[in-house]
């Protein structure tokens, strides 16, 4: 068995994806063509293998890890730190804990699913390797314990996504891709400044930082007492980091890149964007801002509440005003991500665990939503809500998946999203009391826009034989989902139900982690500040 599975699952897809793109240009024509023919299958094979590895890791079959036993600061599957650019203190250091592992698993499982959903993508010899690169970059973000490497992977995710939007996107893809890239890049360079200030305050480690005297090791940074002595600077760094993370999540008011990107992105791109990339923001926030600067986090709890609340409530209202299915779903992500901030703001183990589970659950549900929206685009050539009616006649599977996905997203019990919502709200009530009415009442708005959109697409036609088809079909008969779309969505649906009924699969480790984190780190800060909600 491989000693260092995390490095493997990060680097293999990255380089294999790159190789699959580059090799056909180098090889002689005939072998290049045969390689291009199988590159889809190779990509899928690698993605499946990684999914299998992570699942085995999770089950403890590999590495015999007890996932519920990991507390903040403890990491499993760590590699032997290798030097990358030692003169400025950059190392290759990976590890997983209960905060990152669910995300790792989610990424590993979503990639093959999104490949499956877009199995018939045009120019597949580019598309699938790009998804592989995407996988490597995403996994890199979640496994990296070195902030430099973290940042590199963080930005690296932009490139394949940018290309995915550009090469396989919709009408207005250029604007969307540019906006996506520039917007998120801008935000994350602020984060970079924050990281650099942290870097500047690290103490030297032997053998690292010959040039600068500092290092990027997150574990050591977290362990270092009082990393940034000046409170004002600490807060400032926290805000810089927040700019990067909140934009990625995204939180109102820095969310407007998301709808544009989603609407134009190809289905697989949207699925990954919503499923994993948005989680990077929340993950980074928890991993860096909250963990390293608990005091500042406490200080800014009101800000978190405002951001979370505005994202949640305002996002829901905006959703209700949308006429484009994908835009609506995109805004619903904004709305749901708001809950994560609220969960963290409770400063309760329960709330933080709820936020973690929200990340995970939304990571399963939103790909389903986007797969459905993508299927509408694919089979009906339009995403306009209300341009069609009663299409459940023509596409019963699509309608069924839409129903399930929509219901899961509006927080129906026994589907994955519910546990997250209810736990966050319990914690929120405990801490902030009646303020919980705002998120709670937002659930009604959520239901309104979801049900409205269903009513005006898959229902209603006043004809028991056929629906009202959109003009974009030009009178052609639409088809139902193809087998691979259906298989992908069914898998997602099954996962949604599985984690709705048995949330404890991942919940237990999340809950343990957040308890450990709050007890070890947060409580100290709370007592130091005399914090109370």
């Amino acid at each position: 068995m491989i000693d260092d599975p995390l490095s493997v699952i990060t680097l293999v897809p990255l380089f294999m994806g790159l190789a699959l793109i580059v090799l056909p240009r180098i090889l002689p024509k005939s072998s290049a063509e045969s390689l291009m023919r199988v590159s889809r299958n190779i990509s899928m094979g690698i993605a499946l293998a990684i999914a299998a590895i992570t699942t085995l890791l999770f089950l403890g079959e590999w590495g015999s890890i007890d996932w519920t036993d990991i507390t903040q600061g403890g990491y499993v599957l760590q590699n032997e730190t290798a030097n990358l650019i030692p003169s400025i203190g950059v190392t290759w250091k990976v590890g997983a804990d209960a905060l990152s592992f669910p995300m790792i698993w989610l990424t590993a499982i979503l990639i093959p699913i999104s490949m499956l959903v877009e199995w018939d993508a045009k120019r597949g010899h580019l598309f699938f390797p790009l998804l592989l690169i995407m996988e490597g970059a995403l996994l890199g973000v979640f496994v990296a314990l070195d902030l430099f490497v973290f940042y590199v992977f963080w930005e690296l995710t932009l490139i394949p996504m940018f290309l995915l939007i550009l090469l396989w996107g919709g009408e207005d893809r250029r604007y969307a891709a540019m906006k996506f890239f520039i917007y998120t890049f801008t935000a994350s360079v602020f984060m970079l400044i924050g990281i650099l200030v942290m870097y500047f305050h690290t103490e030297a480690i032997v053998g690292l930082g010959s040039l600068s005297g500092h290092h990027f090791d997150l574990v050591a940074m977290t362990a270092q007492e009082n990393l940034i002595p000046s409170e004002g600077l600490r807060h400032f760094v926290w805000i810089l980091l927040l700019i990067g993370f909140a934009t990625k999540m995204p939180s109102v008011p820095v969310h407007t890149w998301l709808p544009d990107a989603h609407v134009q992105a190809p289905t697989a791109g949207s699925m990954l964007l919503a499923g994993v990339m948005l989680k990077m923001g929340a993950y980074g926030f928890l991993r860096i801002s909250v963990t390293v600067f608990p005091e500042s986090t406490l200080e800014f709890v009101p800000l978190l509440i405002v951001l979370g609340m505005v994202s949640l409530v305002y996002g829901a209202w905006v959703c209700m005003g949308q006429t484009n299915l994908k835009r609506m779903v995109a805004y619903s992500s904004v709305s749901h991500m708001g809950l994560i901030f609220l969960g963290i703001a409770t400063m309760q183990p329960l709330g933080i665990a709820g936020a973690l589970f929200m990340m995970f659950a939304h990571g399963i549900i939103s790909p389903l939503l986007f797969a459905v929206a993508g299927a509408f685009k694919h089979h009906y050539h339009t995403l306009e809500i209300g341009s069609m009616r009663g299409i459940a006649h023509h596409s019963p599977w699509l309608a069924a998946h839409m129903m399930l996905g929509w219901m899961a997203s509006l927080g129906l019990p026994l589907l994955a999203g519910f546990v997250a919502e209810i736990t966050i709200m319990i914690a929120f009530w405990m801490t902030y009391g009646w303020l919980v009415l705002l998120p709670a009442l937002t659930l009604i708005i959520t239901a309104v826009y979801y049900l409205n959109s269903m009513q005006r697409t898959i229902f209603e036609s006043n004809n028991s034989e056929k629906g009202i088809l959109p003009e974009s079909l030009h009178g052609k008969e639409p088809s139902d989902l193809s087998w691979h779309e259906n298989a992908g969505m069914l898998t997602l649906a099954a996962l949604t139900v599985l984690f709705g009924i048995m949330p404890f699969i991942f919940w237990d480790m999340m809950s343990d982690w957040s308890s450990g984190f709050v007890v070890d780190t947060m409580i100290e800060a709370m007592q130091a500040q005399g914090w109370s909600p």
Binding site: S212, S230, G232
Partner: protein
């Protein structure tokens, strides 16, 4: 001065091998095309001794591509020697440790040799890219009397073209020689003379682009503005001479730091020199001729201007600002000026590039913006907040940036040069659909653009990160340690910190036009569907295409990993050698 050449020996000759190589290259270029079967009868005998100069040329000397091949070889050798000299394990007796003075005008140390590497590499790339750029016909013949006037004219034109080959490459080599010597200069006047050698050659190189009707204009503007500015610089230097009576850098530095208040002669002198060097690096507001010059000259030359020439300017600035006028403690006089220039420069460059429709001008403006970033880093050193190690780190970042800039900035110009070969490359439309016509070139271009924008994991990211990091390191500790709120901290922090923010915001702004180039390559329909000519030159095995590929690959490799680490080590020891001297 009298002892200038007194201690020249084999040891020094070996240390100066790259320069000697280039010098001999120049001589060779003058001689070789003239080699022929001319003979001379030894007086009083019948023996005819071949003198080799004149007469009918040999076949190989008749080859119009020969100068190019010679230049390539010479530059490669120079590069190779410089690299060799930088590697002390093999030639320990020629170790550059501590620097070796050549007379009291030049010092060969790691710093200068790293720049030699940079200059020769950039010129080598330009030379290789030019291999087939200028028209040259292999079997040129002298017009016969029987020829009609048209035929005769065309034959003459061919001959002229062939002749231009030689001129061009000689100028390339003189540029290289000037730059390389300039990096070693230990005396301000020497520095200026070498700078002029390189600059004057480069003015001509710009004007050499006769294929375009704007070549002459570009050369004229670059020349006129450049000459005015260097006259200003020489005047400034003369003021310094008046003040100190000596232009030796160490001496100047000593006098400067001994000064209680800034002597007005010295202050004005330094100010004037900043103007001169500022023009070389393309800092606002002295940069106005830069975009014109770049867009008027041929792309490889523009690439040289944007990389080697800019690096030269920075060497001069580093010498002037960090060696001569850097106080041992406290803020340097020029800090505020450089900081302001930096901010204006980067903003101006990026803003102007935003809507430009000429890819070469976009690259030119981007080059201006990059100068701004580096100036900001220098300003951070000048703030006086940096300790020795931080200073070294920031300077390392700047030099590292200059080095990797050769890869992706010049690489980008080389891509344009491929388009130029078919008479295009001046409009955004010429880039349209490049991905369809030639995917690998388009991808390389995209990599260059991303690296210019500073997107990880490319080398442009690493260098920019190091610079921002330097600024942050200098300033982040300055805010009040007891500040409890962001605002009170922000009031206390040194303004240098905001330079980092300025860089960051500018990077974001710049993304727009970098990505735009990427977009039009991939998503617009090409104006013609024919694939790019890959390598029309059978003589030269390394085609332009592969050069571009190499640049792209190195751009990637110098991003993150062992290669960037070794380069960083190299640069940082070079910087240490400069600072410790």
């Amino acid at each position: 001065m009298s002892s200038m050449f007194s201690d020249l020996g084999l040891h020094e000759a070996i240390l100066l091998l790259p320069e000697i190589t280039m010098l001999s290259g120049i001589v060779a270029l003058i001689l070789i095309p003239n080699l022929g079967d001319a003979t001379m009868r030894i007086p009083l005998t019948r023996i005819r001794v071949p003198v080799l100069i004149g007469g009918t040329r040999f076949d190989f000397t008749n080859n119009p591509r020969l100068p190019n091949q010679v230049t390539n070889a010479v530059l490669f050798l120079a590069f190779f020697y410089a690299a060799l000299l930088l590697n002390p394990t093999n030639l320990s007796e020629y170790s550059l440790e501590g620097g070796s003075g050549i007379g009291n005008l030049l010092v060969v140390d790691e710093f200068s040799r790293v720049f030699t590497l940079l200059f020769t590499f950039a010129l080598l790339l330009a030379s290789m890219a030019t291999a087939t750029r200028m028209p040259a016909i292999h079997d040129a013949t002298i017009p016969q009397e029987s020829d009609s006037s048209e035929v005769a004219d065309s034959k003459v034109m061919v001959l002229i073209d062939n002749r231009r080959q030689v001129d061009f490459h000689i100028l390339l080599l003189t540029t290289g020689l000037g730059m390389s010597l300039m990096a070693m200069a230990n005396n301000l006047f020497m520095l200026f003379v070498c700078l002029e050698l390189a600059s004057l050659s480069s003015y001509v190189l710009v004007a050499f682009h006769k294929e375009a009707d704007v070549g002459g204009e570009a050369g004229m503007k670059y020349f006129i503005v450049g000459s005015v500015v260097s006259a200003v610089g020489i005047y400034g230097m003369s003021l310094l001479y008046l003040w100190n009576g000596n232009l030796d850098m160490a001496d100047l530095a000593a006098s400067w730091s001994a000064m209680e208040d800034i002597d007005s002669l010295a202050g004005i002198g330094v100010g004037l020199m900043i103007v001169a060097f500022g023009f070389k690096v393309g800092a606002a507001p002295f940069h106005l001729a830069v975009p014109d010059a770049y867009s008027g000259s041929s792309s490889p030359i523009a690439g040289v201007l944007a990389t080697a020439s800019k690096a030269m300017g920075f060497v001069a600035l580093i010498r002037l600002l960090l060696i001569i006028t850097m106080p041992s403690s406290g803020q340097a006089v020029w800090m505020l000026a450089i900081a302001l220039i930096a901010v204006v420069t980067m903003t101006w460059g990026n803003l102007a590039a935003l809507t430009s429709d000429n890819p070469k001008r976009i690259l030119a403006y981007s080059s201006v913006a990059h100068a701004g970033y580096m100036l900001a880093a220098m300003a951070a050193i000048g703030s006086g907040l940096a300790d020795a190690s931080t200073t070294s780190m920031i300077l390392t970042a700047v030099v590292f940036h200059l080095l990797v800039l050769v890869l992706f900035k010049l690489g980008a110009f080389l891509v344009l040069s491929m388009l130029e070969a078919e008479g295009r490359g001046h409009r955004m439309e010429d880039l349209h659909g490049l991905a369809k016509r030639d995917p690998s070139i388009a991808v390389s271009m995209f990599v260059f653009m991303l690296s210019l924008a500073g997107v990880p994991p490319l080398s442009g990211f690493l260098s920019k990160l190091l610079m921002i990091n330097g600024i942050v390191s200098v300033s982040a500790g300055t805010g009040s340690a007891s500040a409890t709120s962001v605002l009170s901290w922000a009031q206390g922090v040194d303004p240098v910190f905001w330079l980092a923010v300025a860089i960051v915001l500018n990077s974001a702004l710049s993304l727009f036009y970098y990505l735009r180039i990427g977009l039009v390559m991939f998503f617009e329909e090409p104006e013609s569907d024919s694939p790019l000519k890959s390598s029309p030159s059978p003589e030269w095995p390394l085609s332009l295409r592969s050069v571009i590929m190499i640049c792209a690959t190195l751009t990637l490799l110098f991003g993150i990993g062992p290669m960037s680490e070794s380069l960083l080590d190299l640069v940082s020891s070079a910087v240490d050698s400069l600072l410790s001297s």
